[in-house]
Amino acid sequence: MKNSFRQSMNWLHTWSGFVFAWLLYFIFVTGTLGYFEDEIDRWLKPEMTPVAQQIDNREILINAEQHLTQVADNSPSWYISYPANRSPFVNISWLQLADPANNIDKEWREKNIDLNTNQVVDVRDTAGGMTLYRLHYNLHYIPSTIAYIIVSLATMFMLIGLITGVIIHKKIFIEFFTFRANKGLRSWLDIHNIMSVLPLPFHLMITYSGLLLLMSVSMIGVINSNFGAGKDDSKKFYKLATAEHSEQQQTLIKPQDLSADTVLLDAQARYPTQNISYIGVLKRTTDDVHYEVWFDNHQGIELVSHLTYHQHEGQIVVDISGEKVGEAAQIYDLLEHLHEGLFADIYLRWLYFLSGLMGCAMIATGCIIWLNKRLKNANPNKLFDRTYTLARLNIAVVVGLPIALAVFFYSNRLLPIEMANRAQWEMHSLFISLGLGLIICLFHPNKHLWRNSLWLCALSFLILPLVNFLTTGHNLFSSFLQQDWQMLAFDLTMLATGAASAWAALALGQKANLSQTGVNS
């Protein structure tokens, strides 16, 4: 198309990167937060009491079963979750059956148990870390199938951007070690290169595996033509594709003794080194009760996932699930685990998080470069000049999204506890503030737009720990004394984010005009 291969690839890199850049930025930011889903969830539920003492698995079980019998005796499925590294809590959850008479929907419910007082704790209604993490592929407001297709398409553009990015850099290693500060566009290009090349394996892995995770939606035609169309076929396909090697062994448990307690003892005897993370009681209301024991899956990349105890021909047997049957399915699993990083310990998790942040920075700097090349020829005095409008909207996304996330955290603390649909309103506040940010950025004068929005961002994050203290009593000192590391780390991370944003605002302080070289241009 252009004169040389490299030039055409340069064009492709520019445009494939730009078209979905804001959506990709959104996906990267929310996805990166997803690596700390459990930790964020803990902050969003300040009522939960972390378990600090040594625990006895059986004692917790008996305790949890008592509580479950009280609140959910007619439910077909129970789960009891044990304290794990990333979630040091005892929780009970159950499938609440629909009760139209009392306006109750069929849904999973969860409650926390405080081991000190042995009481069930009422946790505030919150969207939780899960909803925040799901944002990066379901986009919240639109039907999930459409969201998956949009996200897949954006991810494909990202993959093209990455491949062409590698192609156009002849001297990828030399350029990697070059940084020219205060040189306007060159400096942004250098930052863009560092943010792209340093975590390049991460970027490639996350993009490709992201495509794979949604391929059953985006490539549905393949299943239809090679396997069969229709709902039953696709269910059957999914079941076969995710089939695991399963081995059935006899147990010494007598049928009349089958209970969560005997199952727990048997599982502990079989795998004495594994930590138990969940015990499930399924098909409770039938004669064919199944007990599941799940192990903590942060102990290596291959998961010994779970054991299932049930009655079979008059005896109690245990199904031990292993790896996937298919070879392609195993590779798929590996990539999925790499994408989700479930196996990562706290250090690797931070590395994931930092790589994700660098991905966000890569996209943001890419946008800034694209805009700066064009702002030179644009007219700053014209109302709604196209390039200037894009530059303003870019700020509304790049800085506005973190601010919107801060607003989400505020809404968790400040919305009335008894409010109806509280969890939904937390998400609404996120998107309302994102929308407000777009409007404000459109009408704010060019001058100081970067600086002011960065200051706003800094303030929102710096004040958050204070609001946390005023509304819940959790503060840095009490969290430290109670060894509540997740609460402590969250507050510290908020302060660090605020500080970083303030530093950026100060650095841009002198030259904070949209059109000045070196700042935004």
């Binding site: 490539m219 393949v222 090679n226 392609a328």
Partner: protein, 85 residues
């Protein structure tokens, strides 16, 4: 033109290649072959996109890809992967 060729024809050909890869893989596990075919199809798609934008003439590339897709479609219907009776 190139954008259309790369996105639409690329997507169609990626799907076709996934079906064909799944068909020709030696393993007896059909479902697993489909999973493999789909995983590889994204790479096929990416390569098609790069090719379309690197080629000299947009029109020729479009016609070429149209032909390739048509041949693949004919081959698939020969294997009864599409147009099943």
């Amino acid at each position: 033109m190139r954008v259309f060729t790369a996105l639409v024809a690329g997507f169609v050909f990626a799907n076709q290649s996934a079906s064909l890869i799944a068909y020709y893989l030696p393993s007896a596990n059909t479902v697993d072959n489909i999973v493999a075919g789909k995983m590889l199809s994204f790479i096929v798609w990416a390569l098609v996109v790069i090719y379309v934008f690197a080629a000299k003439s947009a029109k020729q590339t479009f016609v070429l890809l149209l032909l390739v897709c048509a041949v693949a479609l004919a081959w698939m219907s020969h294997l009864e992967l599409v147009f099943k009776s």
